[in-house]
Protein backbone atom coordinates (compact mmCIF):
# COMPACT_ATOMS: atom_id res chain seq x y z
CA UNK A 1 0.00 0.00 0.00
CA UNK A 2 2.70 2.42 1.07
CA UNK A 3 4.87 1.42 -1.90
CA UNK A 4 2.07 2.02 -4.35
CA UNK A 5 1.51 5.43 -2.88
CA UNK A 6 5.17 6.32 -3.33
CA UNK A 7 5.07 5.07 -6.89
CA UNK A 8 1.93 7.08 -7.53
CA UNK A 9 3.41 10.31 -6.25
CA UNK A 10 5.47 11.23 -9.33
CA UNK A 11 2.50 10.30 -11.50
CA UNK A 12 0.27 12.61 -9.49
CA UNK A 13 2.83 15.34 -9.81
CA UNK A 14 3.01 14.84 -13.55
CA UNK A 15 -0.76 14.82 -13.82
CA UNK A 16 -0.76 18.01 -11.84
CA UNK A 17 1.43 19.70 -14.43
CA UNK A 18 -1.53 20.07 -16.70
CA UNK A 19 -3.68 21.64 -14.03
CA UNK A 20 -2.84 25.23 -13.32
CA UNK A 21 -4.05 24.97 -9.75
CA UNK A 22 -1.28 22.49 -8.73
CA UNK A 23 1.73 24.45 -9.98
CA UNK A 24 2.03 28.16 -9.47
CA UNK A 25 5.29 28.94 -11.17
CA UNK A 26 4.46 32.65 -11.04
CA UNK A 27 6.05 32.71 -7.60
CA UNK A 28 9.49 32.20 -9.11
CA UNK A 29 8.86 33.40 -12.65
CA UNK A 30 11.82 35.64 -13.48
CA UNK A 31 9.77 37.39 -16.16
CA UNK A 32 7.63 39.11 -13.53
CA UNK A 33 9.19 41.59 -11.16
CA UNK A 34 7.96 39.92 -7.96
CA UNK A 35 9.02 36.49 -9.28
CA UNK A 36 12.46 37.85 -10.14
CA UNK A 37 12.87 39.26 -6.62
CA UNK A 38 12.06 35.82 -5.21
CA UNK A 39 14.45 34.02 -7.54
CA UNK A 40 17.25 36.42 -6.68
CA UNK A 41 16.53 35.92 -2.97
CA UNK A 42 16.73 32.14 -3.33
CA UNK A 43 19.83 31.97 -5.52
CA UNK A 44 21.78 34.47 -3.47
CA UNK A 45 22.03 31.74 -0.79
CA UNK A 46 24.42 29.94 -3.12
CA UNK A 47 27.35 32.05 -1.93
CA UNK A 48 27.02 31.01 1.70
CA UNK A 49 26.37 27.37 0.86
CA UNK A 50 29.53 27.25 -1.24
CA UNK A 51 31.59 29.24 1.27
CA UNK A 52 30.56 27.08 4.24
CA UNK A 53 31.20 23.90 2.26
CA UNK A 54 34.60 24.94 0.93
CA UNK A 55 35.95 26.13 4.29
CA UNK A 56 34.58 23.02 6.04
CA UNK A 57 36.15 20.79 3.37
CA UNK A 58 39.56 22.46 3.69
CA UNK A 59 39.51 22.05 7.48
CA UNK A 60 38.31 18.47 7.16
CA UNK A 61 41.07 17.57 4.69
CA UNK A 62 43.75 18.90 7.05
CA UNK A 63 42.13 17.48 10.19
CA UNK A 64 41.59 14.12 8.49
CA UNK A 65 45.32 13.72 7.80
CA UNK A 66 46.15 14.64 11.40
CA UNK A 67 43.69 12.00 12.60
CA UNK A 68 44.82 9.39 10.05
CA UNK A 69 48.55 9.43 10.87
CA UNK A 70 48.26 7.98 14.40
CA UNK A 71 46.12 5.26 12.84
CA UNK A 72 49.15 4.21 10.77
CA UNK A 73 51.56 4.18 13.71
CA UNK A 74 53.21 1.04 15.05
CA UNK A 75 52.19 1.80 18.61
CA UNK A 76 48.86 0.45 19.78
CA UNK A 77 48.21 3.58 21.86
CA UNK A 78 48.38 5.89 18.86
CA UNK A 79 46.18 3.60 16.81
CA UNK A 80 43.69 3.65 19.68
CA UNK A 81 43.53 7.47 19.54
CA UNK A 82 42.64 7.20 15.87
CA UNK A 83 40.02 4.50 16.40
CA UNK A 84 38.26 6.30 19.26
CA UNK A 85 38.08 9.56 17.32
CA UNK A 86 36.80 7.95 14.14
CA UNK A 87 34.23 5.71 15.83
CA UNK A 88 32.95 8.49 18.07
CA UNK A 89 32.66 11.23 15.47
CA UNK A 90 31.28 8.87 12.84
CA UNK A 91 28.44 7.77 15.09
CA UNK A 92 27.11 11.23 15.96
CA UNK A 93 24.31 12.35 13.62
CA UNK A 94 24.97 15.73 12.07
CA UNK A 95 21.97 17.57 13.51
CA UNK A 96 22.63 16.73 17.18
CA UNK A 97 26.30 17.57 16.63
CA UNK A 98 25.28 20.91 15.14
CA UNK A 99 23.09 21.69 18.17
CA UNK A 100 25.88 20.64 20.50
CA UNK A 101 28.45 22.84 18.77
CA UNK A 102 26.15 25.84 18.35
CA UNK A 103 24.33 25.82 21.70
CA UNK A 104 26.62 23.70 23.88
CA UNK A 105 30.18 24.57 22.93
CA UNK A 106 29.89 28.29 23.84
CA UNK A 107 28.91 27.24 27.38
CA UNK A 108 32.07 25.16 27.69
CA UNK A 109 34.11 28.09 26.40
CA UNK A 110 32.42 30.41 28.91
CA UNK A 111 33.16 27.94 31.74
CA UNK A 112 36.80 27.98 30.68
CA UNK A 113 36.73 31.76 30.92
CA UNK A 114 36.99 32.30 27.20
CA UNK A 115 34.59 34.50 25.34
CA UNK A 116 34.28 32.68 22.04
CA UNK A 117 30.92 33.40 20.48
CA UNK A 118 29.97 30.83 17.85
CA UNK A 119 27.86 32.37 15.11
CA UNK A 120 25.77 30.26 12.73
CA UNK A 121 28.44 30.59 10.02
CA UNK A 122 31.29 29.12 12.09
CA UNK A 123 28.97 26.79 13.98
CA UNK A 124 28.02 25.19 10.69
CA UNK A 125 31.62 25.06 9.47
CA UNK A 126 32.98 23.50 12.66
CA UNK A 127 30.24 20.86 12.69
CA UNK A 128 30.59 19.95 9.04
CA UNK A 129 34.39 19.78 9.28
CA UNK A 130 34.34 17.67 12.45
CA UNK A 131 31.73 15.29 11.14
CA UNK A 132 33.49 14.89 7.80
CA UNK A 133 36.99 14.52 9.27
CA UNK A 134 36.22 11.02 10.53
CA UNK A 135 35.55 10.00 6.94
CA UNK A 136 38.51 11.81 5.40
CA UNK A 137 40.75 10.22 8.05
CA UNK A 138 39.60 6.79 6.93
CA UNK A 139 40.18 7.73 3.30
CA UNK A 140 43.77 8.75 4.05
CA UNK A 141 44.45 5.65 6.11
CA UNK A 142 43.00 3.29 3.54
CA UNK A 143 44.86 5.07 0.74
CA UNK A 144 48.25 4.84 2.43
CA UNK A 145 47.65 1.27 3.60
CA UNK A 146 46.63 0.20 0.11
CA UNK A 147 50.17 0.72 -1.11
CA UNK A 148 51.79 -2.69 -0.99
CA UNK A 149 54.37 -3.35 1.71
CA UNK A 150 56.86 -4.33 -0.99
CA UNK A 151 57.08 -0.69 -2.03
CA UNK A 152 58.34 0.32 1.41
CA UNK A 153 60.75 -2.62 1.44
CA UNK A 154 62.12 -1.79 -1.98
CA UNK A 155 62.58 1.83 -0.89
CA UNK A 156 64.48 0.66 2.19
CA UNK A 157 66.77 -1.57 0.18
CA UNK A 158 67.82 1.37 -1.99
CA UNK A 159 68.71 3.35 1.11
CA UNK A 160 65.74 5.70 1.51
CA UNK A 161 64.80 6.70 5.06
CA UNK A 162 61.23 6.87 6.41
CA UNK A 163 60.51 10.43 5.28
CA UNK A 164 62.04 9.89 1.83
CA UNK A 165 60.07 6.66 1.46
CA UNK A 166 56.83 8.50 2.30
CA UNK A 167 57.65 11.52 0.17
CA UNK A 168 58.95 9.83 -3.00
CA UNK A 169 57.40 6.37 -2.97
CA UNK A 170 54.28 5.98 -0.81
CA UNK A 171 52.43 9.32 -0.91
CA UNK A 172 52.72 9.90 -4.69
CA UNK A 173 51.04 6.54 -5.17
CA UNK A 174 48.54 6.93 -2.33
CA UNK A 175 47.44 10.41 -3.41
CA UNK A 176 45.97 8.94 -6.59
CA UNK A 177 43.73 6.79 -4.48
CA UNK A 178 43.03 9.46 -1.86
CA UNK A 179 42.07 12.47 -3.95
CA UNK A 180 39.03 11.13 -5.82
CA UNK A 181 37.24 9.88 -2.68
CA UNK A 182 38.20 13.11 -0.89
CA UNK A 183 36.60 15.11 -3.68
CA UNK A 184 33.58 12.82 -3.45
CA UNK A 185 33.36 13.61 0.23
CA UNK A 186 32.94 17.26 -0.76
CA UNK A 187 29.54 16.39 -2.25
CA UNK A 188 28.53 15.06 1.17
CA UNK A 189 29.55 18.35 2.78
CA UNK A 190 27.62 20.44 0.27
CA UNK A 191 24.44 18.45 0.87
CA UNK A 192 24.84 18.42 4.64
CA UNK A 193 25.39 22.17 4.69
CA UNK A 194 21.59 22.40 4.36
CA UNK A 195 21.46 21.68 8.10
CA UNK A 196 23.02 25.07 8.73
CA UNK A 197 19.55 26.46 7.99
CA UNK A 198 18.23 25.28 11.36
CA UNK A 199 20.67 27.47 13.29
CA UNK A 200 19.76 30.48 11.19
CA UNK A 201 22.38 30.48 8.47
CA UNK A 202 20.88 32.20 5.42
CA UNK A 203 22.06 29.65 2.88
CA UNK A 204 20.01 27.98 0.13
CA UNK A 205 17.70 25.91 2.31
CA UNK A 206 17.00 28.62 4.88
CA UNK A 207 16.03 31.07 2.16
CA UNK A 208 13.70 28.55 0.57
CA UNK A 209 12.05 27.94 3.95
CA UNK A 210 11.59 31.64 4.54
CA UNK A 211 10.07 32.20 1.13
CA UNK A 212 7.71 29.26 1.56
CA UNK A 213 6.41 30.84 4.77
CA UNK A 214 5.60 34.12 3.08
CA UNK A 215 4.51 32.88 -0.36
CA UNK A 216 2.99 29.55 0.63
CA UNK A 217 4.17 27.84 -2.54
CA UNK A 218 6.29 24.95 -1.18
CA UNK A 219 6.11 22.76 -4.30
CA UNK A 220 7.64 25.29 -6.65
CA UNK A 221 10.14 26.75 -4.21
CA UNK A 222 11.45 23.39 -2.96
CA UNK A 223 11.62 22.13 -6.53
CA UNK A 224 13.87 25.06 -7.35
CA UNK A 225 15.86 24.38 -4.16
CA UNK A 226 16.45 20.78 -5.21
CA UNK A 227 17.51 21.93 -8.66
CA UNK A 228 20.00 24.35 -7.07
CA UNK A 229 21.68 21.50 -5.15
CA UNK A 230 21.50 19.30 -8.22
CA UNK A 231 23.43 21.86 -10.25
CA UNK A 232 26.05 22.26 -7.51
CA UNK A 233 26.55 18.53 -7.08
CA UNK A 234 26.64 17.86 -10.82
CA UNK A 235 29.40 20.44 -11.20
CA UNK A 236 31.42 18.83 -8.38
CA UNK A 237 30.79 15.32 -9.80
CA UNK A 238 32.16 16.43 -13.14
CA UNK A 239 35.22 17.71 -11.29
CA UNK A 240 35.63 14.41 -9.45
CA UNK A 241 35.41 12.43 -12.69
CA UNK A 242 37.98 14.67 -14.30
CA UNK A 243 40.25 14.15 -11.30
CA UNK A 244 39.77 10.38 -11.38
CA UNK A 245 40.66 10.25 -15.07
CA UNK A 246 43.76 12.34 -14.53
CA UNK A 247 44.86 10.39 -11.48
CA UNK A 248 44.01 6.96 -12.86
CA UNK A 249 45.74 7.26 -16.20
CA UNK A 250 49.27 7.48 -14.81
CA UNK A 251 49.16 4.31 -12.77
CA UNK A 252 47.87 2.11 -15.54
CA UNK A 253 50.28 3.57 -18.08
Amino acid sequence: MKKTLILLLPLLALAGCSSSSTWGWYVINPMTSSGWVNVKFLISGMGDTILISVIAAVISIALGLVVALPGLAQSRGWRMVNRVYVELVRSIPLLPMLFWVFYGLPIIFREMGMNVPIDPFWGAIITLALSDSAFTAEIYRAGIQSIAKGQTEAAQTIGLNYLQTMRYVILPQAIRRILPPLANQFIYIVKMSAFASVIGMQELTRRANELVVSEYRPLEIYTLLILEYLVLVLIISAGVRWLERRMGSDERG
Binding site: G150, A154, A155, I158, L160, Q164
Partner: protein, 261 residues
Protein backbone atom coordinates in the same frame (compact mmCIF):
# COMPACT_ATOMS: atom_id res chain seq x y z
CA UNK B 1 81.45 5.09 -3.70
CA UNK B 2 80.62 8.70 -2.83
CA UNK B 3 78.48 9.23 0.22
CA UNK B 4 78.88 5.64 1.24
CA UNK B 5 79.06 4.89 4.93
CA UNK B 6 82.42 3.29 5.70
CA UNK B 7 82.18 -0.19 7.15
CA UNK B 8 82.66 -0.21 10.87
CA UNK B 9 84.68 -1.92 12.19
CA UNK B 10 87.13 -2.12 9.28
CA UNK B 11 87.31 -5.60 7.81
CA UNK B 12 90.61 -7.20 8.73
CA UNK B 13 92.91 -6.88 5.69
CA UNK B 14 94.86 -9.81 4.39
CA UNK B 15 92.34 -12.45 5.43
CA UNK B 16 91.55 -13.64 1.93
CA UNK B 17 89.04 -14.75 0.86
CA UNK B 18 87.12 -12.19 2.84
CA UNK B 19 83.85 -13.19 4.50
CA UNK B 20 81.02 -11.13 2.99
CA UNK B 21 78.12 -12.45 5.02
CA UNK B 22 78.23 -14.38 8.24
CA UNK B 23 75.29 -15.82 10.13
CA UNK B 24 75.96 -17.54 13.43
CA UNK B 25 73.29 -19.24 15.50
CA UNK B 26 70.47 -17.12 14.12
CA UNK B 27 67.05 -17.82 15.61
CA UNK B 28 63.75 -16.19 14.89
CA UNK B 29 60.20 -16.73 16.06
CA UNK B 30 56.86 -15.46 14.78
CA UNK B 31 55.03 -15.51 18.10
CA UNK B 32 55.55 -19.09 19.24
CA UNK B 33 56.36 -20.38 15.75
CA UNK B 34 60.07 -21.05 15.40
CA UNK B 35 60.83 -19.92 11.82
CA UNK B 36 64.61 -19.96 11.89
CA UNK B 37 66.40 -22.56 13.96
CA UNK B 38 70.03 -21.96 14.70
CA UNK B 39 71.03 -20.85 11.22
CA UNK B 40 74.75 -20.60 10.60
CA UNK B 41 76.08 -19.76 7.19
CA UNK B 42 79.06 -17.93 5.82
CA UNK B 43 79.38 -16.48 2.37
CA UNK B 44 82.82 -15.50 1.08
CA UNK B 45 83.28 -12.47 -1.07
CA UNK B 46 82.48 -13.35 -4.68
CA UNK B 47 80.78 -16.57 -3.71
CA UNK B 48 77.35 -17.61 -5.02
CA UNK B 49 75.10 -19.37 -2.58
CA UNK B 50 71.82 -20.91 -3.66
CA UNK B 51 69.23 -21.66 -0.97
CA UNK B 52 66.46 -24.06 -1.82
CA UNK B 53 63.82 -25.95 0.07
CA UNK B 54 60.07 -26.46 0.30
CA UNK B 55 57.81 -23.44 0.79
CA UNK B 56 57.59 -22.33 4.38
CA UNK B 57 61.06 -23.65 5.14
CA UNK B 58 62.31 -20.19 6.09
CA UNK B 59 64.63 -19.60 3.14
CA UNK B 60 63.11 -16.21 2.28
CA UNK B 61 63.19 -15.24 5.93
CA UNK B 62 66.94 -15.90 6.09
CA UNK B 63 67.53 -13.59 3.16
CA UNK B 64 65.18 -10.93 4.53
CA UNK B 65 66.96 -11.00 7.89
CA UNK B 66 70.28 -10.18 6.24
CA UNK B 67 69.10 -6.66 5.34
CA UNK B 68 66.68 -6.23 8.23
CA UNK B 69 63.41 -6.50 6.38
CA UNK B 70 62.83 -9.02 9.14
CA UNK B 71 64.37 -8.91 12.57
CA UNK B 72 66.19 -11.91 14.02
CA UNK B 73 65.94 -12.45 17.75
CA UNK B 74 69.04 -14.49 18.54
CA UNK B 75 72.43 -14.96 16.99
CA UNK B 76 74.81 -12.80 14.99
CA UNK B 77 74.48 -11.48 11.47
CA UNK B 78 77.51 -9.74 10.01
CA UNK B 79 77.78 -8.20 6.57
CA UNK B 80 81.20 -7.06 5.38
CA UNK B 81 82.34 -7.00 8.99
CA UNK B 82 79.46 -4.85 10.23
CA UNK B 83 77.28 -6.48 12.84
CA UNK B 84 73.54 -6.04 12.36
CA UNK B 85 72.08 -4.69 15.60
CA UNK B 86 69.07 -2.63 16.64
CA UNK B 87 71.18 0.48 16.12
CA UNK B 88 69.63 2.19 13.07
CA UNK B 89 73.15 3.13 11.95
CA UNK B 90 74.14 -0.50 11.54
CA UNK B 91 70.94 -1.15 9.59
CA UNK B 92 71.65 1.79 7.27
CA UNK B 93 75.28 0.75 6.86
CA UNK B 94 74.36 -2.81 5.99
CA UNK B 95 71.59 -1.84 3.63
CA UNK B 96 74.02 0.32 1.71
CA UNK B 97 76.17 -2.79 1.11
CA UNK B 98 73.33 -5.13 0.26
CA UNK B 99 71.06 -5.04 -2.77
CA UNK B 100 67.84 -6.99 -2.96
CA UNK B 101 65.74 -8.38 -5.78
CA UNK B 102 62.19 -9.38 -4.86
CA UNK B 103 59.85 -12.02 -6.20
CA UNK B 104 57.26 -9.34 -7.03
CA UNK B 105 59.87 -6.93 -8.50
CA UNK B 106 58.53 -4.07 -6.32
CA UNK B 107 59.33 -1.43 -8.91
CA UNK B 108 57.81 1.99 -8.23
CA UNK B 109 54.86 2.12 -10.66
CA UNK B 110 54.51 5.92 -10.62
CA UNK B 111 58.09 6.49 -11.81
CA UNK B 112 59.73 5.75 -15.14
CA UNK B 113 62.32 3.01 -15.38
CA UNK B 114 65.07 5.63 -15.32
CA UNK B 115 63.56 7.36 -12.27
CA UNK B 116 63.28 4.01 -10.51
CA UNK B 117 67.01 3.59 -11.00
CA UNK B 118 68.08 7.12 -10.07
CA UNK B 119 65.89 7.58 -6.96
CA UNK B 120 68.26 5.78 -4.60
CA UNK B 121 71.52 7.24 -5.94
CA UNK B 122 70.11 10.81 -5.94
CA UNK B 123 68.15 10.82 -2.65
CA UNK B 124 70.16 8.40 -0.53
CA UNK B 125 73.64 8.88 -2.00
CA UNK B 126 73.45 12.52 -3.04
CA UNK B 127 74.55 12.00 -6.63
CA UNK B 128 73.62 14.66 -9.17
CA UNK B 129 70.81 13.83 -11.55
CA UNK B 130 73.14 13.54 -14.55
CA UNK B 131 75.61 11.31 -12.70
CA UNK B 132 72.79 9.10 -11.54
CA UNK B 133 71.29 8.90 -15.02
CA UNK B 134 74.63 7.96 -16.56
CA UNK B 135 74.99 5.23 -13.98
CA UNK B 136 71.41 4.08 -14.56
CA UNK B 137 71.92 3.83 -18.31
CA UNK B 138 75.12 1.87 -17.74
CA UNK B 139 73.31 -0.73 -15.67
CA UNK B 140 70.27 -0.80 -17.98
CA UNK B 141 72.68 -1.74 -20.74
CA UNK B 142 74.07 -4.47 -18.54
CA UNK B 143 70.60 -5.98 -18.16
CA UNK B 144 70.02 -5.47 -21.89
CA UNK B 145 67.10 -3.01 -21.80
CA UNK B 146 68.49 0.52 -22.31
CA UNK B 147 65.69 1.22 -24.82
CA UNK B 148 63.02 0.94 -22.09
CA UNK B 149 64.41 3.74 -19.91
CA UNK B 150 61.57 6.21 -20.48
CA UNK B 151 58.74 3.72 -20.01
CA UNK B 152 56.85 2.98 -16.84
CA UNK B 153 57.21 -0.44 -15.21
CA UNK B 154 53.59 -1.29 -16.09
CA UNK B 155 54.45 -1.12 -19.79
CA UNK B 156 57.14 -3.79 -19.50
CA UNK B 157 56.91 -7.57 -19.44
CA UNK B 158 57.56 -9.40 -16.20
CA UNK B 159 61.02 -10.45 -17.30
CA UNK B 160 61.91 -6.89 -18.26
CA UNK B 161 60.58 -5.59 -14.96
CA UNK B 162 62.71 -8.02 -13.01
CA UNK B 163 65.78 -6.99 -15.00
CA UNK B 164 64.99 -3.35 -14.20
CA UNK B 165 64.76 -4.35 -10.54
CA UNK B 166 68.20 -5.97 -10.80
CA UNK B 167 69.58 -2.81 -12.43
CA UNK B 168 67.99 -0.72 -9.67
CA UNK B 169 69.90 -2.72 -7.05
CA UNK B 170 73.12 -2.51 -9.05
CA UNK B 171 72.83 1.30 -9.18
CA UNK B 172 73.47 1.34 -5.43
CA UNK B 173 76.72 -0.56 -6.15
CA UNK B 174 76.18 -3.15 -3.46
CA UNK B 175 78.84 -5.63 -2.37
CA UNK B 176 76.23 -8.34 -2.02
CA UNK B 177 73.04 -9.06 -3.96
CA UNK B 178 70.19 -10.99 -2.39
CA UNK B 179 67.59 -12.63 -4.64
CA UNK B 180 64.31 -13.73 -3.09
CA UNK B 181 62.74 -16.14 -5.59
CA UNK B 182 63.44 -13.78 -8.49
CA UNK B 183 61.77 -15.90 -11.16
CA UNK B 184 58.82 -17.33 -9.24
CA UNK B 185 56.38 -14.64 -10.40
CA UNK B 186 57.45 -14.88 -14.04
CA UNK B 187 55.85 -16.61 -16.99
CA UNK B 188 57.99 -19.59 -18.06
CA UNK B 189 59.25 -17.97 -21.27
CA UNK B 190 60.68 -15.02 -19.31
CA UNK B 191 62.56 -16.97 -16.69
CA UNK B 192 65.65 -17.55 -18.78
CA UNK B 193 66.22 -13.88 -19.65
CA UNK B 194 66.38 -13.09 -15.93
CA UNK B 195 68.53 -16.12 -15.10
CA UNK B 196 70.92 -15.17 -17.92
CA UNK B 197 71.42 -11.72 -16.44
CA UNK B 198 72.01 -13.27 -13.03
CA UNK B 199 74.52 -15.73 -14.47
CA UNK B 200 76.38 -12.82 -16.11
CA UNK B 201 76.55 -11.04 -12.75
CA UNK B 202 77.87 -14.22 -11.21
CA UNK B 203 80.63 -14.46 -13.80
CA UNK B 204 81.58 -10.85 -13.13
CA UNK B 205 82.26 -11.76 -9.51
CA UNK B 206 79.23 -10.42 -7.64
CA UNK B 207 78.59 -12.00 -4.25
CA UNK B 208 75.13 -13.51 -4.49
CA UNK B 209 72.67 -15.25 -2.20
CA UNK B 210 69.83 -16.65 -4.27
CA UNK B 211 66.64 -18.27 -3.06
CA UNK B 212 65.31 -20.20 -6.03
CA UNK B 213 63.79 -23.41 -7.31
CA UNK B 214 65.70 -23.14 -10.59
CA UNK B 215 68.02 -26.09 -10.12
CA UNK B 216 69.53 -25.78 -13.60
CA UNK B 217 70.71 -22.29 -12.70
CA UNK B 218 71.91 -23.51 -9.31
CA UNK B 219 73.96 -26.31 -10.82
CA UNK B 220 75.59 -23.91 -13.27
CA UNK B 221 76.24 -20.93 -10.98
CA UNK B 222 76.31 -22.00 -7.33
CA UNK B 223 79.53 -22.43 -5.36
CA UNK B 224 77.56 -23.58 -2.39
CA UNK B 225 74.11 -25.18 -2.13
CA UNK B 226 71.99 -24.86 0.99
CA UNK B 227 68.88 -26.96 1.58
CA UNK B 228 66.46 -25.74 4.22
CA UNK B 229 63.44 -27.45 5.70
CA UNK B 230 61.25 -26.47 8.66
CA UNK B 231 63.44 -23.53 9.59
CA UNK B 232 66.79 -25.27 9.66
CA UNK B 233 69.66 -25.87 7.31
CA UNK B 234 69.45 -29.58 6.58
CA UNK B 235 72.20 -29.94 4.03
CA UNK B 236 74.93 -27.76 2.66
CA UNK B 237 77.74 -28.31 0.18
CA UNK B 238 79.16 -27.80 -3.30
CA UNK B 239 76.64 -28.46 -6.10
CA UNK B 240 78.35 -31.63 -7.45
CA UNK B 241 78.06 -33.29 -4.08
CA UNK B 242 74.65 -31.79 -3.35
CA UNK B 243 73.01 -32.93 -6.57
CA UNK B 244 75.12 -36.07 -7.02
CA UNK B 245 74.86 -37.59 -3.59
CA UNK B 246 72.49 -35.80 -1.21
CA UNK B 247 72.91 -37.31 2.27
CA UNK B 248 69.70 -36.51 4.12
CA UNK B 249 66.44 -38.22 3.15
CA UNK B 250 64.55 -34.91 3.25
CA UNK B 251 66.91 -33.39 0.73
CA UNK B 252 66.80 -36.51 -1.47
CA UNK B 253 63.01 -36.37 -1.47
CA UNK B 254 62.94 -32.65 -2.26
CA UNK B 255 65.41 -33.01 -5.12
CA UNK B 256 63.61 -35.99 -6.61
CA UNK B 257 60.36 -34.03 -6.57
CA UNK B 258 61.80 -30.87 -8.02
CA UNK B 259 64.00 -32.52 -10.65
CA UNK B 260 61.32 -34.92 -11.88
CA UNK B 261 59.92 -32.63 -14.54
Amino acid sequence: MPGNIPPNPEPVPGTAPEIAIELAGVNKWYGTFHVLKDISLSVRSGEKVVICGPSGSGKSTVVRCINRLEQHQEGIIRVDGIELTNDPKSVTAIRSEVGMVFQQFNLFPHLTVLENLTLGPVKARGLSKSEAEAKAMHYLERVHIPDQARKRPGQLSGGQQQRVAIARSLCMEPKVLLFDEPTSALDPEMISEVLDVMAELAVEGMTMVVVTHEMGFARKVADQMVFMDAGEIVEQGPPEEFFGAPRSPRCQKFLSQILQH
